[in-house]
């Protein structure tokens, strides 16, 4: 009798632990959202990817349609090669364009994909041609300062 009640209590404890783990895996983490959906991989070359990381979302019109699978450096073209895993259920025209965007002012970076007009859709292994690099804040500031410095000089030389 003693034995069976202990069994019940320990079983209860183990099941509670399993339920807690399941709760952590499903409710607080993203186990379901990314392992079930089938994806197809396409690649793109960027001049500068800024702070883009693996697993960053790929969004179209604000909806997550895929994730960044891999980031490599192409030492022939000196560009960054980004592999995107797009969800099978979303199809995009072959001339769609990619942009690296930032969520919020200081948020993480993600890839925005804008649909093109081609009638043929992207297939696995395709390379997207139209890409726009990440905005690098330092470059923006230095260009702004350079313009500021150049502007008065132009005016004086014009007069």
């Amino acid at each position: 009798m003693q034995r069976s009640t202990t069994d019940v209590w320990v079983g209860f404890l183990v099941l509670l632990g399993a339920a807690a783990l399941l709760f952590l895996a499903l409710q607080s983490a993203n186990l379901l959202s990314f392992s079930w959906q089938k994806t197809y991989a396409v690649s793109a070359l960027f001049d500068n990817i800024g702070g883009l990381k693996k697993q960053a979302p790929v969004k179209s019109a604000g909806v997550v349609v895929g994730r960044v699978q891999d980031i490599r450096f192409d030492d022939k073209r000196f560009q960054a090669e980004v592999i995107l895993a797009l969800d099978q259920q979303y199809q995009f025209p072959q001339d769609s364009s990619l942009k690296i965007l930032t969520s919020g002012l200081l948020g993480e970076q993600y890839i925005g994909i804008e649909a093109g007009a081609d009638t043929a859709n992207l297939k696995a292994g395709d390379r997207l041609q139209a890409t726009q690099s990440a905005v690098v804040l330092e470059n923006l500031i230095s260009r702004f300062l350079y313009d500021k410095a150049a502007a008065p000089a132009d005016q004086t030389s014009g007069q």
Binding site: R3, T6, D7, W9, V10, F12, L13, V14, L16, G17, A19, A20, L21, F23, L24, A25, Q27, S28, A29, N30, L31, S33, Q55
Partner: protein, 259 residues
């Protein structure tokens, strides 16, 4: 001068012998795993004692840690206008750090001390020697089931702590303060990774389970067989296990979450 050198030498030798004994005991306990599995009844009894009776303190502490995390986190996040990331903050801090560490510290206080005192008193009452006289190995019959019960129970308690803590954070953050429930869970799901965060948290609790159970059992096993010796061993269990857990946590975090 010679005396001083001799004392340094003696201390070093004693320390090395101590490390050697501890390692030998640890290896024996690990190797006794199949024997324990064969007589799982013993392990189960101790899982009941170590686990079920720690459930109340673990879940209540988890709940309150979740409450406080949500209150404090909301105060800070709201200054930057990002109160919607509250769920992410609560979940990440619980799953990665607070869940494993606090549950290990509570486990030390609640279960580790009782292990040390029990084994120490058995030794003081010469029960262990009596067993040896009957050709029963006390390490196999007494220590190993308790050790494996502690190792098995610790991840369960850690997971319960984190889950209850997240529910506590939800109660304060969403129900009481009124953070949007959708962004609370949504940001959490976006930011918490199953393997990198939840999985590493479970690995941490498993390591802490080995650490705390082993330290508690060894302190009891090596205690001076007097009331004073048992009292000292119990104190040493708490101090050593807590410090080891915190130090190991730093090392594990550095290894797991390198950026």
């Amino acid at each position: 001068m010679m005396n001083f050198i001799a004392r340094v030498g003696g201390a070093t030798r004693a320390w090395l012998a101590d490390v050697g004994h501890a390692t030998a005991l640890f290896v024996r306990l690990i190797l006794l795993a199949p024997a324990c599995l064969r007589r799982f009844g013993l392990v189960r009894d101790h899982m009941h004692f170590l686990g079920n009776y720690s459930l109340a303190i673990i879940s209540v502490s988890g709940l309150f840690v979740g409450f406080v995390l949500a209150l404090q986190g909301y105060n800070t996040l709201q200054r930057f206008g990002s109160a919607s990331a509250l769920g992410l903050l609560v979940a990440l801090s619980l799953v990665r750090e607070l869940g494993p560490v606090i549950s290990a510290l509570l486990f030390t206080g609640r279960a580790g001390t009782s292990l040390t005192a029990e084994i120490g008193l058995m030794k003081a009452g010469e029960q262990l020697s009596a067993m040896e006289m009957m050709a029963i190995d006390p390490v196999q019959r007494i220590l190993a089931p308790r050790f494996w019960a502690g190792v098995l129970v610790m991840p369960i308690l850690g997971a319960i702590f984190s889950a209850v803590g997240i529910i506590g954070g939800w109660l304060v953050g969403v129900v009481m303060i009124g953070v949007d429930a959708g962004s609370f869970w949504g940001q959490m799901r976006d930011g918490v990774d199953v393997w990198a965060d939840v999985g590493n948290g479970v690995i941490k609790t498993l390591v802490f389970g080995f650490t705390v159970s082993f330290i508690a059992l060894r302190q009891g096993f090596e205690a001076q067989p007097t009331p004073d010796g048992v009292a000292r061993a119990t104190t040493r269990t708490v101090v050593m296990a807590s410090l080891t857990v915190l130090a190991l946590d730093f090392v594990l975090t550095a290894l797991m979450f390198k950026l």
